[in-house]
Amino acid sequence: MIDTLYRDAPSALHRYDSRLKLFLLPLLLIIFFLPLGTAAVCAYTLTFILLTMAVLGFREVLMPLKAIFPLLILITILTPFFHRAGEPLLETGGIVLLTDEGAAETLVYIARFSGISLLFFLFFRTTAMENILLGLSWYRLPYNMTLVISIALRYIPHLAGLYGQIKAAHALRCGINDELPCRRKRGRIGGLFPILVSLVIQSVKTIPTLTMALELKGIGRSNPRSRCRRLESPANIRMQLFFTLVLLVLMLSALVVFLTN
């Protein structure tokens, strides 16, 4: 089962206009890359943890963090080796394992990567894919591009199901006493290849049918088709605009304070 990250809920962030979210997303992302210092980056990440907890609940915070957990361990192990300046905090047999600057840098990397992961998770968890596409269209993303993404999203579950069917059909071709191909490495890839060929041919064969369907819908005609779907503004759009502006001013003032110091 393939599904988007979006889960419907009656929260303020779910009702927040997707165009404003798309506007804020890169701005909020840039802040992670400013040389703000350890405490500031950690506090900024903590804001996203608290926001996720408030909007989606505690369990949802763990979901993106679980996905990046192995990388966080690697960051913890490897970063101190590349930042050896500063006061030694941990050493064995004359070899410095951890310095204060190395620990600070590790914290910054962990906070930054966790924060970025949470930011994107929050965005996709609270914004439906069709609203993202309509929002992107509002920012003048070409119609053909959004159409490609919409069609691809509809075809992904179909092709995933097709892969399962082809795999099952190929498995039936093995006799009951045959040696299972998955026992050997070469057999594993050898067994996968015919399935992949069948899947690709079946997928490619759908292109002419889809082309005809699109032509019937008027795609590629000299007179462009009218658009029926528009992104509806929420009832409290003025409030949301005001909040976005306040956030923008706060971010800019923080940036000015940082640059002047």
Binding site: L5, T79, F121, L147, L196, S203, P208
Partner: protein, 182 residues
């Protein structure tokens, strides 16, 4: 059939349909079809196989769109949305470069084909692994980012080793595909 595809390959509807289906195929190859790697007990996905196939069969611009969008969608759907913009760039440009190499070298002569495969593997790996290394380094340090390089190279190896035979097999089993390139 040949005439139909020749006509339709210039058609906008055909281009949209081809890119959409190949985007979905790339996403499925990235998310669902995985080959276990015994030494690391991990998996490699077949995104690069789909990108190599698309670049060789449909040309550079389809590979740019389908490779970039397909892998980025897989990141979004798989819960790794923070990687989506980087993946879009890394795999999109990788597809574009591979497609351009095959477009300029041609796919008729055996010697040229092998040369194109080697060059596309080297450049594709440099672009893909290099982009992930640089962006990963900026996000969480170059030490941890360096650990991902072998996995990315392995994925590109799988792309060449499986992508090229896949192109030959599909071309043989479904000849009309030869007219789909633009």
């Amino acid at each position: 059939m040949e005439n139909q595809t020749d006509k339709s390959k210039q058609n906008l509807a055909f281009r949209i349909a081809a890119i959409a289906v190949l985007t979905a195929l790339t996403t499925v190859c990235t998310m669902i079809i995985r080959v276990p790697v015994t030494p690391t007990r991990g998996y490699i996905n077949l995104a690069d196989v789909a990108i190599f196939f698309t670049a060789m069969t449909f040309g550079p611009f389809t590979a740019l769109a389908a490779g970039g969008l397909g892998t980025a969608l897989a990141d979004i759907l798989g819960g790794y949305a923070q990687w989506a913009p980087i993946t879009f760039f890394a795999h999109g440009v990788q597809g574009l470069v591979i497609g351009l190499i095959f477009k300029t070298s041609g796919t008729e002569e055996k010697g040229k084909m092998v040369m194109a495969l080697v060059i596309s593997f080297i450049l594709g790996t440099l672009i893909m692994a290099g982009t992930y290394f640089v962006t990963g380094g900026l996000m969480y340090g170059f030490g941890a980012a360096a650990t991902e390089i072998p996995g990315n190279i392995l994925q590109n190896v799988a792309g060449v080793v499986l992508g090229f035979p896949l192109y030959l097999a599909v071309k043989k089993a479904y000849p009309p595909i030869a007219g789909y390139r633009w």
